[in-house]
Amino acid sequence: MVTSGASPFERMLLTGAACMDPDVVTFVGFHWPMVMARVARRLHAPAMTIVYENGIVEDRITPVFPTSPCDLVAADGATMCAGSVDALYMWLGAGRVGMTMLEAAIVDRHGNINTTAVGPYKKPLVRLPGSGGGTELGSMGRGLLLVSASTNSRSYPDCVDYITSPGYLGGRSQRSSLGYKPGTGPQRLVNPLGLFGFNEAGELFPTAVHPGVTVDDVRACFGWPIAVPDTLNVLPEPNADELAIVREELEHARERAYLLPQD
């Protein structure tokens, strides 16, 4: 059954959730990736193994929606509670994680992410939280999926002011010469418009869009002249079940003090 009325934000969450593989150990970062993971567990990946930066291993949905991985309702029913050397190096760095999900508030042409400061570092126009473990996810994460809920071109500058989490830096060849392991670096980005990939030069380009999204919408979203392929796949409309589940989880998030885009 096809349902209209899904918002672009809901489509983003469902498209991100659909990227999650029940058989792949997944490192889930803070914020919207956590919503996607809950949606994926309810739709197709109930027993997927998820790890968090503080050392939690989770293989089923938690009864209560955590406000962040360090909201320890996230550890309810965990199969392991370890630490950050385990999570960031033994699991992520050593390649035992097959998919990595990282929110990218500001992301540039080469997938470099800024969550530190807009403008000069010492006198920023906008100060952001800083890296947390986001640097590690950008540097060492396999199967890295970036998540951005924004379609404002200010969120997609040609070149970020501060590289908090490395994408392809100045391009794929630069990254590989600086000690980053093969197989790391962003592979996809999901936003309210659809799904994006990174080409051989390490530049972002659209691969599939949500129904109704035009090439002009895509061009207007980015702060550089983004290369758009001749044909763009169109992602499926969410069905009624998918839409109901994403809305239930968003309601759950709201009860847990999440600020949602429409608030």
Binding site: L88, G130, G133
Partner: protein
């Protein structure tokens, strides 16, 4: 072994934290010893050099109250919402409040720097960081990160300098009179961070008999011989959570987030919740038994 001094929070700050102290504060958005921050504000400490991996509301309060001269951290935000750490943001954007200097490391590099400090190693290999902001931008720690060639290969390796804080104060779950301290649940970087500190004080939810410690020795995160003094302060980590003891207090985080949006609101929070409450018992009384009951976890005896 001899028993360790048991201090009140007031005595801890009076005796161990003079103005200008270099101080690593434990917690990673859980087990943040917020009661320590309250007491630092009550005693109006100045010019502190604070190290904290995830700064959260605790560091935001210290910044807002003008206590910090230098901060080393990897993240400072109010993770409920999430909403900005408003005092932190205002100060760094030059929009009010006392200025302070910030230096940053990624969470992984911070962890490995603490591990190097704890093990007395000259440096530790860490996350590949070349070309990133953390590597390119330095403030008061110009030598925080470096690069060596892999002696067993041919690629550049990012390395982090050892971190050895002069004093560490960490929240733990329980401790015995000797100073054996235990934590349950995830521990983030805390074991390495505690061991990296030259002097260490723990703030425990409860003081227990050594036989209770012996029953679960794998939960000991720091042995007695590394602990100098003990504070016993139930609910010391509120409004962050303490695994198995109490939950994160979302409404209180929202209250702080909403008041700290303006300097006046922040001053009101400090006056009502920190100054006028006098001590942590007063803070808990203001919070009220019904709220504590809502947050309390009724675990089985470990």
């Amino acid at each position: 072994m001899v028993d360790k001094p048991v201090l009140s929070m007031r005595e801890l700050v009076e005796r161990f934290v003079p103005d200008g102290q270099e101080l690593m504060i434990g917690g990673f958005a859980f087990s943040d010893p917020t009661a320590l921050a309250h007491e630092l504000i009550r005693q109006n400490r100045r010019e502190l050099y604070v190290m904290k991996t995830s700064g959260g509301v605790l560091v935001d309060m210290l910044v807002g109250a003008g206590l910090i001269r230098r901060l080393l951290s990897c993240h400072v935000w109010n993770s409920v919402g999430p909403v900005p750490a408003h005092c932190f943001r205002r100060s760094l954007e030059g929009k009010g409040g006392a200025p302070f200097e910030i230096e940053e490391l990624s969470y992984g590099a911070f962890t490995m720097g603490l591990l190097a400090g704890a093990c007395d190693l000259p440096f530790a290999p860490t996350t590949p960081l070349l070309g990133t902001g953390h590597f390119e931008t330095r403030t008061f720690l110009p030598d925080k990160l470096g690069q060596v060639m892999n002696p067993f290969g041919s690629e550049p390796v990012s390395v982090v300098a050892p971190i050895k804080p002069e004093l560490g104060v960490f929240h733990v779950h329980r401790v015995d009179a000797l100073g054996n301290a235990q934590m349950f649940g995830p521990t983030g970087e805390m074991r390495y961070a505690m061991a990296a500190c030259k002097r260490l004080i723990v703030i425990a939810e409860e003081l227990v008999d050594t036989e209770v410690i012996r029953a679960r020795p794998e939960a000991t995160v720091v042995p007695s011989f590394m602990v100098e003094a003990i504070v016993v302060e139930p609910w010391a980590a509120h409004p962050t959570d303490s695994y198995g003891y109490y939950l994160r207090d979302l409404p209180h985080n929202e209250l702080y987030g909403s008041l700290s949006r303006t300097p006046e609101g922040f001053a009101q929070y400090v006056d009502e919740w920190i100054t006028q409450t006098g001590n942590h018992s007063g803070f808990l009384a203001k919070l009220g038994e019904a709220e504590l009951d809502r947050l309390r976890l009724r675990r089985e005896q470990w």
